[in-house]
């Protein structure tokens, strides 16, 4: 299993530098928002937790066009289906590779941004929440990548599919991140986010496996 995971991760990071790109994209998108809103620090501090969450969602879309498409093109997916390892397990590894390549670096960048831009909103739970959110977005992203496999407009469709499905973790996550600013406890939204993440990350590999099998075997 481990060599397969390393190879999957290498496919995303070594040739394409997805981990660096995620952080750079995260910083650029956040800067674009700041330029759009204006640099007034007190306004900015209030909306930073929500802003960081929305940008985290956007940066999770980055790796999706590469996630399964190259494996589909060089028929690695056929090997996956024929392999003795169950397809859902391989899809779970794919999801972990996507988390390691985009969600993890973007979540770290997001935590640092909140620390620098809105220190009042910074707490240990914030980092945990952002990581959980990144995992949710990757799980939903797996579904988007599987559904659009073989389409010529995959990247656009992935954004249209993933964003509405990502609304629940976004709402709970941003709620938890903004809780310290409102002086309320982040426990409720954080537990809802954790519950969503666990369900999404458990179910997504099975759904993605079924969709990939359908794609590869539909004549």
């Amino acid at each position: 299993m481990m060599p397969i995971f390393t190879r999957m991760l290498a496919r995303l990071t070594r040739a394409r530098g997805l981990h660096t790109l995620s952080v750079v994209f995260f910083a650029l998108a956040l800067t674009a928002f700041v330029f759009g809103i204006g640099g007034n620090t007190s306004d900015l501090a209030n909306i930073t937790p929500g802003l960081v969450w929305a940008v985290l969602l956007l940066s999770s879309l980055l790796g999706l066009p590469l996630l399964l498409e190259t494996d589909w093109a060089d028929s690695t997916l056929d090997d996956f289906i024929l392999s003795p390892i169950p397809l859902p397990a391989l899809m779970a590894l794919k999801m972990l590779a996507h988390i390691a390549a985009t969600a993890l670096p973007a979540a770290i960048a997001a935590t640092l941004c909140v620390f620098a831009m809105a220190p009042d909103a910074f707490s240990p739970q914030l980092g945990i929440g952002l990581l959980l959110g990144g995992i949710s977005f990757s799980a939903i992203g797996m579904l988007g990548a599987a559904l659009t496999l073989g389409s010529s407009r995959a990247a656009t469709l992935q954004a249209v599919i993933v964003m509405p499905l990502a609304v629940p973790p976004l709402i709970f996550g941003a709620g938890a991140a903004g809780a310290p600013l409102l002086g309320v406890s982040p426990v409720m939204p954080l537990s809802m986010l954790a519950a969503f993440t666990v369900s999404a990350a458990t179910l997504a590999p099975f759904a993605a496996a079924a969709i990939v099998r359908m794609k590869v075997t539909t004549p």
């Binding site: 579904l143 559904l147 073989g150 469709l157 599919i161 964003m163 759904a207 969709i211 539909t218």
Partner: protein, 236 residues
């Protein structure tokens, strides 16, 4: 238990449609004009909302249709995934755009009502947001239908996304009960409330006429669209 695969044959579907269509058309042509006249002219204005309450006679049926169509698509999607019946895929192709139109109608009428009543076109309340998400899911699913060179792939992918999006339906249904929202809870949510409603009979009557009439119209539109899809497939 009805054997669903009995109806999965296009020829049988066309025969069934031939007998059902006149019935649906008759009911719709009688109920819709009656309902419209009742809703717009006969029924009393609300003591708080005035004449703006008449928007409800379009808003509530389109909200019901937006969710009922999605639920029907969910059933069809499961059939399309499990048994790969072409007719279930054709139903998705026919019904998803209609459902999106009903959702758009629900959102637009809601906004038109919200401006005079709440003083704003839009609030980010749980009910409104979840219906907006439903609309986006409709759009994403429709976009998937024609995103592939082979239409069967699009049908299957759209069926999967429809099933995944089913999660949103209970959130919409119970949003007004789970969260304390600006959108009021349903006045006719259960049989108990139906028998002892929080609405005047003069208002329930046009609402029922419009809901049943528009549901028949929906069935007619979706059936016609399915027939067109079958004709397109036959021509290929």
């Amino acid at each position: 238990m009805i054997n669903l695969s009995y109806f999965a044959n296009p020829a049988r579907f066309e025969r069934l449609a031939k007998t059902l269509m006149p019935v649906l058309a008759t009911v719709a042509t009688i109920l819709l004009p009656l309902g419209l006249v009742d809703a717009l002219l006969i029924s009393p204005p609300d003591y708080q909302q005035g004449d703006a309450v008449r928007i409800m006679y379009i808003h509530v049926p389109s909200a019901w249709l937006s969710m009922a169509t999605y639920a029907a698509c969910g059933v069809a999607a499961i059939i399309a995934i499990v048994w790969k019946h072409t007719l279930a895929e054709l139903f998705l192709r026919a019904a998803l755009p209609f459902g999106a139109a009903a959702t758009a109608m629900c959102l637009v009428t809601g906004m038109l009502w919200g401006k005079p009543m709440w003083g704003t076109w839009w609030v980010w309340d749980a009910r409104l947001t979840s219906v907006l998400v439903l609309f986006f899911i409709y759009i994403a699913t429709i976009a998937l239908l024609d995103a592939f060179d082979r239409p069967e792939q699009g049908g299957q992918a759209a069926a999967w996304l429809t099933v995944i999006g089913l999660v949103n339906l209970p959130i919409i249904k119970y949003s007004v009960e789970w969260w304390n929202t600006l959108h009021q809870p349903s006045s006719l949510s259960s049989m108990k409330r139906m028998l002892n409603p929080a609405m005047a009979a003069d208002m329930i009557r046009p609402l029922m006429l419009m809901t049943i009439g528009l549901t028949c119209l929906a069935a007619i539109i979706v059936t016609l669209r399915m027939k067109i899809e079958i004709m397109k497939r036959k021509r290929k």
